[in-house]
Symmetry: C2
Subunit: 203 residues, 2 copies
Amino acid sequence: MTLQGKTKRQALTEFREAEILEAARKVFGEHGYASATVDLIAAEAGIAKGTLYLYYDSKDAIFWAALTSRFREMHAEARREMEAQASVREKIRASLRVRFAFLKSDEQFLRMYVTEFGAMCRLQGGPMQALYREVAEHMAGVLQAGVEAGELRPLNAMAAATALMELVKGVFAMRFAGMPGQDPDFDGEQFVFDLFWNGVAAQ
Amino acid sequence: MTLQGKTKRQALTEFREAEILEAARKVFGEHGYASATVDLIAAEAGIAKGTLYLYYDSKDAIFWAALTSRFREMHAEARREMEAQASVREKIRASLRVRFAFLKSDEQFLRMYVTEFGAMCRLQGGPMQALYREVAEHMAGVLQAGVEAGELRPLNAMAAATALMELVKGVFAMRFAGMPGQDPDFDGEQFVFDLFWNGVAAQ
DNA sequence: GTCATAAAACTGACCAGTCAGTCAATTAAA
DNA sequence: TTTAATTGACTGACTGGTCAGTTTTATGAC
């Protein structure tokens, strides 16, 4: 083994965690937390169950890692795109653009997010809580700045930020729930933007 | 036994179902579907597990009955109040008034609704699906009429109806999630109304 | 009123399946 | 040869659902 290069073993285990999380998202996404089994996740990842427990302590730990890692990625990208915009209006648009693209591109993550979010609310102080709060607070900061700049009407920024996130989730939930009004040409992103922007814009 | 009066037995069993459902809402509300056990529900209702299975076929059946019965009551009341209003604006206000009052008055039902809704989305065609759809379609009809009367701007009525329901749920979810911005004087009902009304009103 | 009988309601110990998590044995790398 | 990684059979706790047996109520003959 060299200092710089990777040994064969290291090369093998390098991406184990990521592989496990991808398998976990597939299984959790397809079956839901309750029906997903650790055996299934291990099989999907192509490793033995015991190996899985070398990397994560519990089913719970796998679940949270799988969910938060992608959620964090989505938020980081949204934040980057928002910062590239000047007006609050364009920041909101950028945020929606990134989030819709992200959720559309990863069906399994989307399913986890939409179907397990409610249950998460039970776990005060759970691993997802701090992250969700951080994301909401960032968006609230943006909205608050918009209020102070006169671009938005006076409002409870934190509530509005949460409302925006709920609207995004709601549009996708409608699909799973098999709701009508989901014409192929229905543009959820545009719909949420129109509703929210009209709801918060000044005048 | 008389034709009119109830025998002692009938009087006893008359409210069994309702008692079971109330116990079920308490247990499901406190623990969530997965952690709730049928034994717990039976104990809460003060009957043996076997008795419970005389009234409902499965844990699932108890859950759906407990959730949909209250949901139906809430909707019926909202619908009645809406019909007493002339303008779409006041119909929306009435709907929110009833729904907020209802959810605030029944903590256990609220918890079930907020925390288990996502999981419901998995069950295409489940018992709650048709009900939720019916409620959404009623609200969509009201909104569509508003569009045609020029009171609302042109929009996808079904999407807007769902969005409104998601907003209500979202405001309550914020509490469970321990989100900030929940000052004691934060008026969720007013907030949702302002956001939504501004979002859909004409001009 | 009361006693025998039938019917309905109820009970809770039990069963059978499930599954998260463990660990002694095995394999591969250093 | 040593060390690290991996395996998968196994365990033990849990719980949805059952059912043989018990209790309660209703009925009706006397």
